[in-house]
Symmetry: C2
Subunit: 365 residues, 2 copies
DNA sequence: CCGGACCCTTACAACGTTGGAGGAACAGTG
DNA sequence: CACTGTTCCTCCAACGTTGTAAGGGTCCGG
């Protein structure tokens, strides 16, 4: 098919550019700056965003002045397209209102700001399908990297779908890091929930507790399962398996409801010792403490309570909560580092918590 | 300058396109899908993302099949450029680890998900300059709208710089909404901190408290100033101006430190009644309660404490905290609605808190 | 007075997409 | 059978950048 040799373009193109302009009329483009400064597009580009080539001082100043005068703001999307890379990372959490995730997010944001990276947030609402949807959306945004902060679910189908999506993302040059469990085959900040839970339970047996009530969270959430299994293993080994092993939502209300029901039926037989409630996280522990109080009982005199995470906002509850301290902000920062640097091979960083015994589980006798 | 009528382009262009390709090699483009399906770019675009025009069933299926087979993911940045609009909004908070902001953010995220909007998060770390920097970065990203969730600072210079930046953003068609104070001339969810603080203080006078200690936060933060001034006004009107009026950081540590110092010097003279500490937010109130306990005193027997916000995570502290309930998640959702709909003119929505008297300030006598 | 730096301009092809203009095939109408 | 509409596609010019190739001035040293 032959091409007709079009008419001289310059003027006509400019006119049509203005006429057809798709963006809002008020947005200043590099073209506008170049025109205002009386230089070419390429020169303006080099002064304002370019790297390699140098531009002479007089022109340089004219361009900068024009840009300032017109209040030019480079279009990052266009830059990303032209350069073939963006400086956005996606952060996926289950619930940003949950202090566990918001603390991790704070750690991520701090590192991101230092690296001049922009963070796009997505929340799954604890639904594996929603997580896949959001990961796909972030892939469409061509984020440079993806941070998956949430616990994995024990759901083979959803995990497979996610893994597919992540593989496609990584095939396009994207980096991925996960926090919690190492089941996705990506760089991971692995939290050793099982081991830390064991140590906490052992410590409590050492303090003299014998009757344990487990608020283990739901069966499908890996973090909850790991913690509960750690508690269970240690207690069973020490000869004091949990007298009650409850499933409930991984939330304040879940723990509050489950323990409330139990207490309404009366305390487990205890040989004079207060029983000890082991909650799978601090938020649940606080819900459990509320249920104890509502039953007219005292923490720790009648019921001892321990949590997990050492959420900063909850450090001042009274009695202060025995828990496992996780360096949540550092964990977030660490995950960011995993995707920020270009590492030669897959890495798994281990994080273990530190047991903190406080007022909610005083030594017995 | 004459144009030479270039050689037939199709094949040659394809070759060079492959050769010079800037994006990562693994990324599938619309072009690839079109080629694989044996249709033109435009047809593929219309099948996969297009709206208006219809594509015949046979071709339509071929395109969908090719897209699925190649695992095509549309490039949202390119779409944004071509369409001249994005579906990203920017959310600016002071500190995402602060439950006040994370709860607001959760409200925003929920609405955003429902509207298929992507949210980019920025944290200021409570620095006005950082806020301007982040707003500029979000403008470069060509976000569709901007949500400023943080309290304003009483800093004329920084406010002016921010206002300039916002005007430039709005000139380019961006929408802006603010939460808290109405000083930027944009759509606002205005929180009537002053009035709610008055009502809380009046309630406490009604309960019999007479000696008040104000933990008013810093002078520069508008939210803290509004709340403190509401407390002060009500107390002064009722004839019981604060016996101590302390400035401190708007944080747990700020309140804890300031009140700790005071208590180290002994309780204010009280005529047998416990004094009442009025903190400018819940997190500070909890820090204050910790300081009271560390001084060997009891809340509320020796010192009563009240806060502000009704942070969900802190609803189970013991004794339960007297406070002002703000519907934080709804406030976030509301701000999102302000920028999501296209409103004819500037709107200011008022939100007032509800006073909740709980165990930390029992009635006297 | 020429050759070569140096600094700039012009021009253009990307990047991945959209949307308008235009055209081919085909049916319906006179 | 020519005309006029529809459909359903394709082609091409945007969108705002970057980066490179090709070229044109100016200045300097030989």
């Amino acid at each position: 098919m032959p091409q007709e040799p079009e008419p001289a373009p310059t003027v006509e193109r400019t006119v049509r550019r203005r006429a057809r302009r798709a963006t809002a009329p008020g947005v200043v483009t590099l073209h506008d700056v170049a025109t205002a400064a009386g230089v070419s597009l390429a020169t303006a580009s080099r002064v304002l965003n370019g790297s390699s080539r140098v531009v002479g001082e007089p022109l340089r100043e004219k361009v900068l002045a024009a840009a300032a005068r017109l209040d030019y703001s480079p279009n990052a999307q266009a830059q990303a397209m032209a350069r073939g890379r963006s400086n956005i990372v996606g952060l996926v959490v289950h619930d940003i209102a949950d202090p566990y995730f918001s603390t991790i997010a704070a750690g991520v944001m701090q590192r991101a700001a230092a690296s001049d990276v922009i963070v796009t947030l997505a929340v799954t609402g604890s639904s594996p399908d929603t997580e896949v949807t959001h990961v796909a959306a972030l892939r469409r945004q061509r984020v440079r990297a993806l941070l998956l902060a949430g616990s994995r679910w024990q759901d083979e189908e959803a995990t497979a779908a996610l893994r597919d999506e992540l593989n496609a993302f990584r095939a396009g040059g994207g980096r991925v890091a996960a926090i919690s469990q190492d089941v996705l085959g990506v760089d991971t900040v692995l939290i050793d929930n099982h081991r830390a839970a064991r140590r906490l339970a052992e410590e409590l047996v050492g303090l003299g507790y014998r009757e344990f009530v487990l608020l283990g969270g739901p069966r499908g959430v890996a973090t909850a399962v790991d913690r509960a299994s750690g508690f269970r293993a240690a207690l069973t080994e020490r000869g004091h398996p949990p007298v009650l092993d409850l499933e409930c939502a991984f939330t304040r209300d879940g723990a509050h409801g489950a323990l409330g029901e139990v207490l309404a039926r009366g305390l487990p037989a205890s040989g004079g010792r207060p029983p000890c409630v082991l909650a799978a996280n601090d938020v649940m522990a606080v819900g459990a403490m509320a249920a104890v109080r509502e039953a007219g009982l005292d923490v720790p005199r009648d019921v001892a309570v321990a949590g997990f995470d050492d959420i900063p906002t909850l450090r001042d509850v009274s009695p202060s909560l025995t828990t496992v301290r996780l360096p949540l902000a550092e964990i977030g920062g660490h995950a960011f580092d995993l995707v920020d640097e270009t590492a030669p091979q897959r890495r798994v960083e281990h994080v273990t918590g530190r047991v903190l015994v406080r007022e909610s589980t005083p030594p017995l006798r």
